[in-house]
Symmetry: C2
Subunit: 344 residues, 2 copies
């Protein structure tokens, strides 16, 4: 993260982003969901999925890929299962609704699983895991995305950087939060290293032939988590994201997506799928037992010694909450294009 | 896998292992579950969790760690949630029961999640994901285990090799099956390289101070998947296994386990936890849509080109089913100690 340049307060960004989405025709509900998810990403430091996407979403609303005034459809399929149709609107709107539906089911059934179809890019998947955890639920959220990661030993982009995200409530503290891509690095990292002419970490990217390379100019696709030796694990985890998001929901497979960027077609909906799973700890060992266990787990983890020159040892989310505290205080840094687009 | 030495037919191994467990006092139901899970592991090539564990389980039954005639308790907590108590018997027995309970709930609610407590080592977690998939359900199974993996930047064993396993039904074919440890390699691999005096792959193991090493003699613990650069992802995935298996069930945390091996205490139950999640595709986009989607997904994946000198590109499970076909035909190889113990 570049900490130079201008920083902006959260409420200013929320207001400007909402206004731009509204100008592009988005309904207030769907626009508010997109702003909430983008703001989450901006605050925890995932700038690629933050407020800078406002302009992209506006172009897609104007082009017709995204429906301006989507009407969500919720179909309950069982006491713990439902499908939400996003009506081809902003994906954030459908995904937050899926979390709500999941929580409603989990309160009764102990668990609620919601497939989302006819959706589109929903930003940082962690936003939805977090939304459930903030209400006291262990929550899993995933999506599949445009192909840009090779299979293990593969020579073609196949899976997206398909995130797996989990969050869990922690008494008296922000949630435990894991939001990880199933590649080692995001594509942005390759572009950054290309612009800096600096080598990539080994085992993170490959040439068009599928050979691992540290040359950012030769890199054409990403390698799955685990790299050259253990990338079959990362590739399979990307498959898990696809299994839940696309196969259970009957939506588009990673290699079949109309690209998010760089295509002339910004008028055809992409039928992207997501999957949200919400669990009520009270319906397993009980809320008190869970609270005790996660508190003990996290204090053991954070008290674990660090290697010389490393550490401190952190739990998933610890870094994100540090960044959030800084950005709540000092503002969110933005790139010049986004500053101009928002009229700041 | 050492393919030299003697090989034995499946039915012979099943019969001998069941007889030994019975001799050690195991009830026929709990012994049969252990044999089923061990046989799965032996057939797919996970020998560390295969029939060779028969002797270990017998010693634990004789020592009192494992109850010989456990009575399982199933407590339904919601339409999609339940807790199974293993009564400190063989973990396989409780875990297979949890899959059954999960399937029963999933048929009605769309999803069934089952926490298992008062259990013990259950062998290869993939056995339980597979048991659900063979009945037409997408199934997730996990457990936490004895500490042997460093945290990211950590200098102490914290998590176990905590597996995440997923399986999904595939029309006209064996299931899609992922059974992965959240470390890059198992501890067995370190011991093997130590005996061969051969270096370990980089980023897979560490010294007692937490520094990565390729020297198998200096290696004291494993590193999480992702290694020195991206091991925070593997460590967090091990945390996901703990979250589901131990925190939601209120069972023992990884660093708090009485060790599986190498301890004088073989009389105290370990209160190990597991978690099983069963999903009925029919309660999401529908069984036909799911069947179509996973067939298309797998054919796309297997048709994806391999890099020069690599491949072929495989789906999770493809290697396991190859090994199973070979072993069904040629028999299962066994180590001399196990051959002696089984009286073969």
């Amino acid at each position: 993260m570049d900490s130079r340049g201008s920083r902006f307060k959260r409420n200013v960004l929320e207001e400007r982003a909402a206004a731009r989405l509204s100008d592009a025709g988005a309904s207030s509900e769907s626009g508010a969901a997109a702003v909430r998810a983008m703001m989450h990403a901006s605050l925890v430091g995932v700038d690629s999925h933050g407020i800078r996407l406002t302009g992209h979403y506006c172009r897609m609303l104007e082009g017709g890929r995204l429906k301006r005034r989507p009407e969500l459809d919720v179909e309950r399929r069982g006491a713990g299962s439902a499908m939400v149709s996003g009506d081809d609107g902003l994906g954030h709107y459908a995904a937050y609704r899926a979390v709500e539906v999941g929580m409603e089911m989990a309160r009764e059934a102990g668990i609620g699983a919601v497939g989302v179809r006819h959706s589109s890019h929903f930003g940082a998947a962690g936003a939805y895991a977090l939304a459930g955890a903030e209400q006291g639920f262990v929550t899993f959220a995933t999506t599949n995305t445009d192909s840009m990661v090779a299979l293990f030993d593969g020579a073609r982009k196949f899976h997206g950087t398909n995130p797996l995200t989990f969050a869990a409530p922690v008494p008296g503290s922000r949630p435990w939060l894991l939001d990880m891509a199933t590649s080692s690095i995001p594509l942005n990292r390759v572009l950054l290293h290309r612009s800096l002419d600096e080598p990539l970490p080994p085992g993170t990217a490959a040439t068009p032939e599928g050979n691992a390379t540290t040359d950012p100019h030769a890199a054409d696709m990403l390698l799955p988590l685990g790299g050259v030796d253990y990338g079959y694990k990362g590739a399979a985890l990307a498959g898990v994201a696809t299994l839940f998001s696309a196969l259970l929901t009957g939506t588009t497979l990673d290699p079949d997506f109309i690209p998010m960027y760089g295509t002339a077609d910004i008028s055809t909906p992409r039928n992207m799928g997501h999957f949200i799973l919400v669990i009520d700890p009270d319906k397993f060992a009980g809320r008190a037992a869970f609270a005790h266990a996660i508190t003990h787990y996290l204090s053991s983890l954070r008290a674990s010694p660090a290697r010389p020159g490393g550490g401190p040892v952190m739990a998933p989310g610890d870094r994100e909450w540090q960044v959030m505290a800084e950005r709540e205080r000092d503002g969110v840094p933005l790139d010049p294009d986004t500053i101009a687009f928002l009229g700041l």
